[in-house]
Amino acid sequence: MPVNTENMIKVFGRPKSMTDVRSTYCPGCHHGILTRIIAQTIDELGIADRTVTIAPVGCAVFAYLWYKCDAVQASHGRASAVATGIKRANPKLIVLSYQGDGDFASIGTAESIHAANRGENITVIFVNNQVYGMTGGEMAPTTLIGQRTTTTPAGRDPGYFGYPIRFSELIATLDAPVYVTRQALYDTRRIMDAEKAIKKAFTYQVEGKGYSLVEVLSTCPTNWHMSPVDANRHVTEVVTKAFPLGDMVDRG
């Protein structure tokens, strides 16, 4: 039977600043939700025509594809330095540095800390899924104690490999950042909280207040060898114990 769409009202759709390019993320991964939240925020703030996104190395290397915004791809770990260069060259631009845990909290440690410490007026979205996804599931700096990865086949032994690093907490000890928070996306309430946090981070940048960091816990069903539902439950029950949610700094 043909559907009469005449009296229908569109209540939900793709954000205007989001492209319809097919996602490269795995089913059940939270990168997709996050991508949508960012696009929605860009729409709400009306900043698509002055936003520059920085795609990192890792699963988000294609991040330049998802937004109708100017974009550049950065070398592994250096996105916060690239963001610094862009913002300093043209402070009118709104700069988003989108980075994974290996990128932001391991190989890019120096760039990440010093961009934060200079109080660069940028927004960093830091996706923490405790594993190197793109390369096949190796140990990340955030890998949990006991977690099996392809490079910790017997589980992460902290006496040998060190502990999962709480990088946002490190950043939160600095004087310059205006906003440091950890969010998750495992249920509707958390998604709504994350939306508020991301909007706040971008708003602070628009207002010229300075550096903001939004860490977002994500699943990785593929490399955790879990179903999307189990991966979601794992974030809820296990990951949030090691990486507690909430604001660490808000000087806005």
């Binding site: 791809q73 260069g85 060259a89």
Partner: protein, 351 residues
């Protein structure tokens, strides 16, 4: 109107960069280029431009990558070990077709080496340095005024070809003072607009700057585009100097500081009745192979002199292709050669 001033090489490069319209400068301190950093620290903020002392060499080159992507003239400077750290970033800048200027005030190596003048980074500068099939234009000044002129040129070439350009000099040139006539400053606003730059996608499709594609066929096409650009540069941008080569029996091939010393040797040798000339490449990449081959057809010997174990020597031998003898004389470790030492080398091959 030209201003004449007594200045150090490092300061001249910094001042020339400012006058070329460099809007962003990022660097990490290292000897022997500290005066360059300090001149920028003092003068860039006064002009409302960006000076950031980066957390590392990697930070600095990636800030340059970002600023260049945003469409402004950007520069970094360092010395040998620091330039090694920048190689990944330079490869990205080349791969992403971005204009940038990188200054290397070479010091003795390998490893930590020392802080004395050397020319051991020729291979790194001219043969790639970082990963992948790329080149950058390499300009080698041999006097302080020329360091200023080539810095101005470096920004123009970087923009023209959307490519990294290196000023390759050494600690001697950086520290030495000479009278310099400074050119009039360029207003950055008067430079041609970069339509490809990240300025915000207002009324146009997004500009995307990448050095990668996972499809080998696409990446191959990107590589072929780069190679076409390098071919154009080879055709159009060769620079070199010939000094008293017309009637020479022996010609010294040297660049930078060594070429300057060799000019004195040419005059000394000619006073002794030896017909000596000098061939000085100014662009080390592209290297003036054909011009040097023409010289080789007229002379018996081309003596390469470097402050290295013989790096440019490989390009000299490629150019000469056994049309003349190609001996080598070099010093290493930061030891600067003298006119008398070079002259006694020349005498081995004279008559």
């Amino acid at each position: 109107m030209e201003e004449r001033k007594l200045m150090r090489g490092n300061e001249v490069i910094a001042e020339a960069a400012i006058r070329a319209g460099c809007q962003c400068y990022f660097a990490y301190p290292i000897t022997p280029q500290a005066e360059l950093l300090e001149h920028m620290a003092k003068n860039m903020p006064r002009l409302g431009r960006t000076f950031v002392q980066a957390e590392s060499e990697l930070g600095a080159i990636n800030m340059v990558y970002g600023a260049a992507a945003a469409g402004v003239r950007a520069m970094t400077s360092s010395s040998s070990p620091g330039i090694s750290l920048k190689q990944e970033g330079i490869s990205y800048i080349a791969g992403a077709n971005l204009p940038a200027v990188i200054v290397n005030m070479m010091r003795g190596g390998p490893g930590l080496g020392d802080i004395a003048p050397a020319q051991g980074d020729y291979f790194q500068a001219t043969k790639g340095g970082g990963h992948g099939d790329y080149h950058m234009i390499v300009l080698a000044p041999s006097t302080v005024p020329e360091a200023g002129e080539l810095t101005m040129l470096a920004f123009d070439l970087a923009d023209k070809y959307r490519t990294p350009v290196m000023i390759l000099a050494d600690g001697m040139l950086g520290q030495m003072m000479e009278p310099v006539a400074l050119p009039d400053p360029i207003d950055p606003a008067s430079l041609p607009k970069k339509e490809w730059a990240l300025t915000g996608a207002k009324g146009r499709d997004p500009n995307i700057i990448l050095s990668f594609d996972l499809d080998p066929e696409v990446l191959k096409r990107m590589n072929l585009e780069l190679q076409r650009k390098y071919h154009d540069i080879e055709q159009n941008e060769l620079r070199y100097e010939e000094y008293q080569t017309d009637d020479a029996d022996i010609v010294i091939a040297a660049y930078g500081t060594v070429a300057r010393i060799a000019k004195t040797v040419v005059r000394m040798a000619r006073a002794d009745g030896i017909k000596l000339g000098l061939f000085r490449p100014i662009t080390l990449w592209p290297f003036p192979y054909d011009k040097l081959r023409t010289v080789a057809d007229r002379v018996d010997t081309i003596l390469t002199v470097e402050m290295s174990a013989g790096q440019m020597w490989e390009d000299v031998r490629l150019a000469v292709a056994e049309r003349a003898h190609t001996p080598f004389y070099g010093e290493m470790g930061g030891v600067v050669t003298t006119p008398n030492k070079i002259l006694s080398e020349v005498k081995k091959y004279a008559g």
